[in-house]
């Protein structure tokens, strides 16, 4: 990245941050509207508004060199809506100018206030006066509204390079050869620090007034000094930078655990890179690594282009959102068209900003490149009438009362469950019988049968087996084993876990081959009795079942005939119903979950 120097650029934000003043050393001040990103006004020759004829005749804008600029608004306490805010400028000639930006005229001016040049302007947050310091080593207190010089005292025998006042207005810091802290009311020196060997460019109090931050020309660090009246003269913390800082800002962080407040420091280096440090304590701040905000170098112009490069000009810490991140208001880009943005900076994640080329007249070749890029950047999608072709269609739902009722009242749930149970029972009588214990459950039968498997010698009961094979197996059994087999077969038949078609040959074969031995067994007779009963009971139903099947056949054939003209409605509907039923159940459960989520949210 090619370095650009922003040392000579003076910037100031309006108190409400909606205007931004910038001057580049040619005596012209541009006021930008930070919301619109446009120039609001430009003041080329401020002194021309002055009543004095002398000023008008001699001073053009190039003859004024501004050395410092601050935008101050002081009578905030009054409830008037339009707080008068003044842009206070110090010149190299030693004049102090207060410029009413909204009125577009000079509010007041003090000629030759600091012979040799004004070096610093500062004011506290709620005071009604401003302080200036100059090369003559004096500090002046000036009334904000009228511009009357109220007080003057000597802060140093040498030129004061920088001066600042704490936000409560009680302490004042000047930087000459040493860094001195004064009581602003009686001008007594409170503390003295070693300070910087060179001239100090930035000096700023922290919000709580306990520390002071400073940076000097040609020194690549920011020093933090603790104001506690101690005799210690060295800096309590040094934050290293790649280039000297031209701008400093800080905010305190409330951290409950520590006695000391945490701090967050913002600095802009000479090359226009913004540094951001964050620490919950001074110790942490000292060890913290800076987060850098810079403009992405990819977007930089080609190296041939000789002109101002986009940089960051000014920044302001707006506040600390949550631990280790801060809202920063940044001014970046080219001088002809700076862009203004609010940024959330997280400590530890460097930020690269894009450079906008809006409103800049470029050499022909570059503008072509730019325009090409532009056109590709964004493409508008257009959809016509047929815009919903791949859209999801609603999944149909039917709502009936039970669901809603259950949804509303969980006590109704059991009732509803029973009802569902009834429906299921009606469908399958077997299940019901099984449940009542009339039928043995399938599991029992299976377990019984499993015991017999060794007897069957691996023959599958569920498949048709040749009679000869059955006979051979049955004959190979001991009578006691045969009884067991018969018992389990009978159970299986009764419980219908196996088809009678396969089980009955086995029963038959067992009875034929081992019938003689059964008569002697007590338990076997009982079993044979039950077998007899079952067969007897099934006999008479046979006729009616046959009739039923005949009728069914007739009906199905009729239905088939009818379906050639129209499909069977009853059948379809029943299907639909059952599927609906299932979905509704799912829906119900889902909703229940959601509900609990909502309530838990509320609790938290």
């Amino acid at each position: 990245m090619t370095s650009t120097d922003i040392r000579d650029i003076l910037t100031a934000f309006s108190p409400s941050l909606d205007y931004f003043a910038i001057t580049t050393g040619d005596g012209r001040v541009k006021i930008w509207d930070t919301l619109k990103g446009q120039v609001q006004t430009e003041f080329a020759d401020m002194s021309s508004n002055d009543t004095s004829i002398y000023d008008r005749s001699t001073k053009g804008h190039l003859s004024i060199d501004y050395t410092c600029m601050k935008w101050l608004s002081l009578d905030r306490k009054k409830k008037r809506k339009h707080v008068s805010s003044l842009l206070v400028l110090g010149t190299g000639g030693g004049d102090v100018l207060a410029f009413d930006v909204s009125a577009g005229q000079v509010g007041w001016r003090i000629s030759n206030c600091h012979p040799g040049g004004v070096r610093a302007i500062s004011s506290s947050a709620n005071g009604s006066c401003i302080y200036t310091a100059g090369a003559d080593g004096m500090v002046c207190r000036i009334d904000f509204t009228t511009g009357n010089l109220l007080e003057k005292f000597k802060a140093s025998t040498k030129a004061v390079s920088c001066m600042t006042i704490s936000s409560d207005g009680k302490t004042l810091a000047t930087a000459a050869s040493q860094l001195k802290i004064f009581n602003s009311s009686n001008h007594k020196e409170i503390q003295k620090f070693a300070g910087h060997p060179g001239s100090v460019r930035c000096l700023v109090f922290t919000e709580d007034g306990k520390y002071i931050l400073s940076s000097a020309v040609g020194e690549r660090y920011v020093a933090l000094w603790r104001i506690d009246g101690a005799r210690k003269q060295s800096a309590s913390c040094v934050l290293a930078m790649d280039h000297p800082a031209v701008f400093l800002d800080s905010r305190c962080v409330d951290s409950g655990e520590h006695d000391e407040n945490g701090m967050c420091v913002l600095a802009i280096s000479e090359v226009g890179v913004c540094y951001f440090w964050f620490g919950n304590s001074i110790e942490e701040l000292r060890n913290s690594k800076p987060t850098k905000i810079s403009l992405s170098s990819e977007d930089m112009f080609s190296r041939k282009y000789k002109g101002a490069l986009p940089t960051i000009y000014a920044a302001k810490l707006l506040g600390i959102e949550k631990p280790s991140s801060g809202h920063v208001f940044l001014v970046s880009g080219l001088l002809v068209k700076p862009s203004f943005q609010k940024l959330l900076v997280h400590s530890g994640t460097d930020v690269k900003l894009n450079v906008s080329h809006d409103g800049i007249l470029l050499p022909k070749s570059q503008s072509l490149v730019k325009s090409k890029k532009r056109s590709d950047e964004r493409r508008v999608t257009a959809l016509d009438r047929a815009n919903a072709e791949d859209a999801l269609l609603p999944i149909p739902k039917v709502f009936n009362s039970e669901k809603e009722k259950a949804f509303q009242d969980s006590s109704d749930k059991t009732e509803k469950d029973e009802m569902i149970q009834d429906e299921i029972d009606a469908i399958c009588m077997e299940d019901q019988l099984r449940e009542l214990g009339i039928l043995k459950s399938e599991k029992e039968c299976l377990s019984n049968l499993e015991k017999c498997y060794p007897l069957l010698k691996g023959i599958n009961l569920e498949a048709a087996t040749p009679m000869r094979k059955i006979r051979a197996t049955v004959l190979s059994m001991e009578p006691s084993e045969a009884i067991k087999l018969l018992e389990s077969l009978l159970a299986a038949w009764q419980s219908r876990s196996f088809s009678g078609k396969y089980v009955l040959p086995w029963i038959y074969s067992t009875l034929v081959n081992h019938g003689h031995s059964f008569t002697t067994d007590e338990s076997a007779t009982c079993m044979l009795d039950s077998l007899y009963k079952i067969t007897n009971s099934r006999g008479p139903t046979f006729q009616s079942l046959l009739q039923l099947s005949g009728r069914l056949q007739l009906m199905t054939s009729q239905i088939d005939k009818a379906s050639q003209t129209s499909s069977d409605p009853v059948h379809d509907l029943q299907k639909d119903e059952s599927s609906d039923e299932d979905e509704e159940d799912e829906y119900f459960h889902d909703e229940g979950d959601d509900d609990s989520e909502i309530s838990s949210d509320d609790d938290s």
């Binding site: 409400s16 909606d18 006021i31 919301l35 619109k36 990103g37 609001q40 006004t41 008037r80 809506k81 009413d100 909204s102 009125a103 577009g104 005229q105 947050a125 919000e207 707006l318 506040g319 809202h327 208001f329 862009s339 609010k342 894009n354 906008s356 590709d376 964004r378 493409r379 508008v380 999608t381 257009a382 959809l383 016509d384 919903a388 072709e389 791949d390 859209a391 999801l392 269609l393 609603p394 999944i395 149909p396 739902k397 039917v398 709502f399 009936n400 009362s401 039970e402 809603e404 009722k405 949804f407 509303q408 109704d412 509907l573 119903e577 609906d580 909703e591 959601d594 909502i598 509320d602």
Partner: protein
């Protein structure tokens, strides 16, 4: 509390004597702007009703004073340098216009005069507007003498020499010659000039006895030598008039007392601006076309300043001959360099409400809010959207929604009917309607806009033509967290749109392109859908289908539940922040605000109120409504609207504020001001409520702050005093409680367990279950109920 959005062009502005300031009537206050920067310098606050006229006292020295008149019935005298009020005269009658003749005469003449300053005022005595005289120096009462009564408040026009006073009254001009030495009893002589059309504006020549008038058809009439007989001749007898029976008076009608009358016609619509140049050689005119025309009086040659883009209202000359200003109907004041007629700088405010609201019935002029950055988006007359910073009280930028030029005189063919911003302010949805010409060619167009992160400007991302076939879109709502939106139509369906990233291969480059696509389509019994909203977590989409609310899963497009029934169609829906309550608003004969509990799917409580707007906080269960009060209550309450702040669980409002002009107003909760106060005062950002009224004036205040209630009223300094009861209960007394009980029973009634037949037939019509099934459930439910009764 921050106020803003004032109308700068309600009354003519005035220049200060040194031309460095311009005084603009902004509602109840007078704002002082600097002519060199266009920024506001100070304001004169004190009037309690809109200021109608400003008159600067002529003086050569630095001290600057001015008189203002207002509808609040007072005339006040201000010191501009401080700025503070010096004197207040209470006329007790609203003043619509005021002129002070003695300010205009030559300075030596004013010095010679008696010390009393007389003003002519147009006041309303309860029946009609009367023009009366008023002694400002020794004020006791308004003069009894009534010069003229008019039906409407007519602006008083005075000649630059201060000798003549004129008003227009339908087709007539009334001109008085003011007495040379004013006193309480001095009577002015009057003549009347006639025309065949309604006159809209008049202006006096600075030196000659010439008056110009514009009419509704765009003609400009110039009477020269008016009042020759009556004003010049002290004996002025009627006989002489009848003798001169119009022979040598070209163009003069009905024996009017004028020497000649000529007509110029260039404007196609009514002339609204007419002014002679100070030297009397030129005449400025302007009208709805937004073109300032400069006529050379002798020759009638014209010179134009075109493309101002908005109807012109006032033209004010300054003492400095090179500076003048014109006020435009789009709330802008342009400062003109006079000889060259170029605009040097402008003072611009929020765009006024659209004039074509009545053209389209489905039109909603509602503003949309970007809560995080404190911007409001309003539709502008020239088919655009203006983004206005609420905290800074100035426009940020404008976006053109449709690519078409705006000519104020043209018929409206395109309307931007809806603007909606997503919660984070990164996406905007607009709906524009091209009105059909003779029944054909109407097109509805939905556009999605994306915010460019660098430039902070919106640009079009997706254009959807006829999103709901040819039916108008009733509402657009954005998902709170994801890039999803829903649009509902009167045609009975809604569509869910999602923004998808797509890669496009082009010229060997891979481009990321994001476009909005239709994700799902839904409908409910083909009922017109008028409102939609997402819940705070975005898991539920509520769509109002006529009188019921349907709840959908926006991802799967599954109808999850159908809630309730309001007496009239629902026009607006909102979830009460993160709570489980949903608010519905219905208008019509039985307007209602209903709060539905999502856990019970039943109404929790409701009010019979005509609610104009509703907004809810993002992080709590509070919500605010803007309700129109019935006419009968206006006496008990100052203002015709009320803002009520509720906690969703409780039907008793937490706070109430009365406001003016609620019709077309909107409400929003803003995140606290990060830029201004918070930084300097070190306060934590708080939630603020912004109310923007039908005239797009707004006020930002902290609704939870009790102090705020006392002054949170636009155009009204006497605040709503909260005496014991809350504002609402003080009107309706016991009603809230009664309502609560009633609705509680209602909630039980409407719950499905008791009356399943109410909800059993709800469902997509083509997917209704078979009757056999319904029948059994129906009977079952009946049986169930009887057992319940037996118990």
């Amino acid at each position: 509390m921050i106020r803003g959005g004032q109308n700068y062009v309600s009354s003519p502005p005035a220049f200060s004597n040194d031309c460095k300031r311009v005084l603009v009537c902004t509602g109840n206050t007078v704002s002082v702007f600097s002519t060199s920067t266009g920024l506001q310098v100070s304001s004169l606050e004190g009037h309690t009703a809109p200021v109608t006229s400003i008159l600067v006292v002529p003086a050569t020295d630095v001290f600057c004073y001015c008189w203002t008149s207002s509808f609040d019935g007072t005339i006040r005298y201000w010191d501009l340098s401080v700025p503070e009020m010096v004197k207040k005269l209470d006329l007790g009658m609203p003043v619509s216009s005021m002129v002070i003749p003695s300010f205009l005469g030559s300075p030596e003449e004013t010095n010679a005069k008696t010390s009393s300053v007389f003003a002519y005022v147009s006041v309303h005595d309860g029946k009609a507007w009367q023009i009366r005289k008023c002694n400002l120096t020794n004020y006791q009462k308004v003069g009894k003498l009534v010069l003229k009564e008019t039906e409407r408040p007519e602006p008083l026009i005075i000649s630059p020499s201060g000798n003549y006073l004129g008003i227009k009254d339908k087709c007539k001009l009334h001109i008085w010659k003011l007495p040379r030495v004013e006193s309480d009893l001095a009577v002015a002589k009057k003549i009347t000039l006639h025309h065949t059309k309604n006159i809209t504006i008049l202006a006096f020549h600075p030196t000659e006895r010439t008056v110009a008038a514009g009419d509704v058809t765009g003609r400009i009439l110039i009477w020269r030598g008016f009042g020759t007989q009556k004003f010049l001749d002290p004996s002025g007898s009627n006989n002489r008039i009848s003798m001169n029976d119009g022979e040598d008076k070209p163009g003069v009608r009905q024996n009017d007392d004028a020497e000649s009358c000529s007509v110029w016609h260039w404007h196609s619509a009514a002339v609204s601006l007419l002014s002679f140049s100070p030297d009397g050689a030129y005449l400025y005119s302007g009208g709805k076309e937004g073109v300032l025309v400069l006529w050379q009086l002798d020759s009638g040659k014209k010179n134009f300043l075109p493309r101002i883009g908005s109807p012109l209202l006032y033209f004010i000359e300054s003492p400095d001959p090179s500076l003048s200003l014109i006020s435009c109907a789009d709330n802008q004041i342009h400062m003109l360099k006079t000889p060259s007629m170029e605009i040097m700088r402008s003072i611009s405010g929020i765009k006024p409400p659209l004039s074509y609201q009545e053209v389209c019935e489905n039109f909603s002029g509602k503003a949309a809010f970007d809560c995080t950055s404190g911007l409001v988006a309003v539709q502008t007359e020239n088919y655009g959207i203006q983004f206005y910073s609420l905290f800074a009280n100035r426009g940020v930028y404008e976006v053109q929604v449709c690519e078409r030029n705006h000519q104020p005189v043209d018929d409206v063919t395109v309307l931007v009917t809806l603007v909606e911003l997503s919660v984070d302010g990164s996406t905007m949805g607009t709906v524009e309607v091209k009105l059909p010409e003779e029944g054909i060619g109407g097109v509805v167009c939905l556009k999605f806009w994306e915010l460019d992160s660098d430039t902070k400007r919106f640009s079009v991302s997706t254009v959807i033509y006829e999103p709901h076939r040819d039916v108008d879109i009733s509402a657009v709502a954005f998902h709170p967290t994801r890039r999803m939106a829903v649009s509902t139509s009167y045609g009975g369906d809604f569509k869910i749109w999602v923004c998808k990233e797509r890669d496009i291969q082009q010229k060997g480059q891979r481009l990321q392109n994001s476009g909005w696509m239709c994700h799902a389509v839904g409908s409910y019994k083909n009922k017109a859908m008028r409102a939609a909203t997402f819940s705070a977590d975005g898991s539920v989409l509520a769509v109002a289908a006529d009188t019921v609310i349907t709840l959908w899963d926006p991802d799967k497009n599954v109808l999850m539940a159908v809630v309730g029934e309001t007496p009239t169609p629902i026009v607006s829906l909102a979830f009460a922040g993160k709570s489980e309550y949903l608010l519905s608003i219905s208008h019509g004969l039985k307007p209602q605000l209903s709060v539905w509990s999502m856990s019970k799917l039943a109404m929790a409580w409701s009010y019979r109120l005509h609610v104009e707007a509703v907004c809810s906080t993002i992080d709590s269960s509070y919500f605010a409504i803007l309700a129109l009060l019935p006419e009968s209550n206006e006496r008990a309450f100052k203002g015709n609207g009320i803002i009520l702040l509720f906690n969703a669980t409780d039907p008793i409002p937490v706070a109430s504020m009365s406001v003016m002009k609620p019709k077309g107003g909107a409400l929003a909760f803003l995140k606290g001001d990060l830029s201004e106060q918070a930084v300097i005062d070190g306060k934590t950002p708080q939630t603020l409520l912004v109310y923007i009224n039908g005239d797009r004036e707004y006020v930002i205040f902290n609704p939870y702050d009790k102090e705020g209630h006392k002054l949170s009223v636009i155009r009204q300094d006497v605040a709503l005093e909260e005496t014991g009861q809350f504002g609402y209960s003080s009107i309706y007394g016991e009603l809230p409680k009664f309502d609560l009980q009633k609705e509680k029973t209602l909630s039980v009634m409407s719950s499905a367990s008791e009356r399943p037949w109410e909800t059993i037939f709800n469902g997509s019509s083509h997917m209704l279950p078979p009757l056999t099934k319904l029948c059994s459930v129906f009977l079952e439910s009946l049986l169930e109920k009887r057992t319940a009764v037996a118990e």
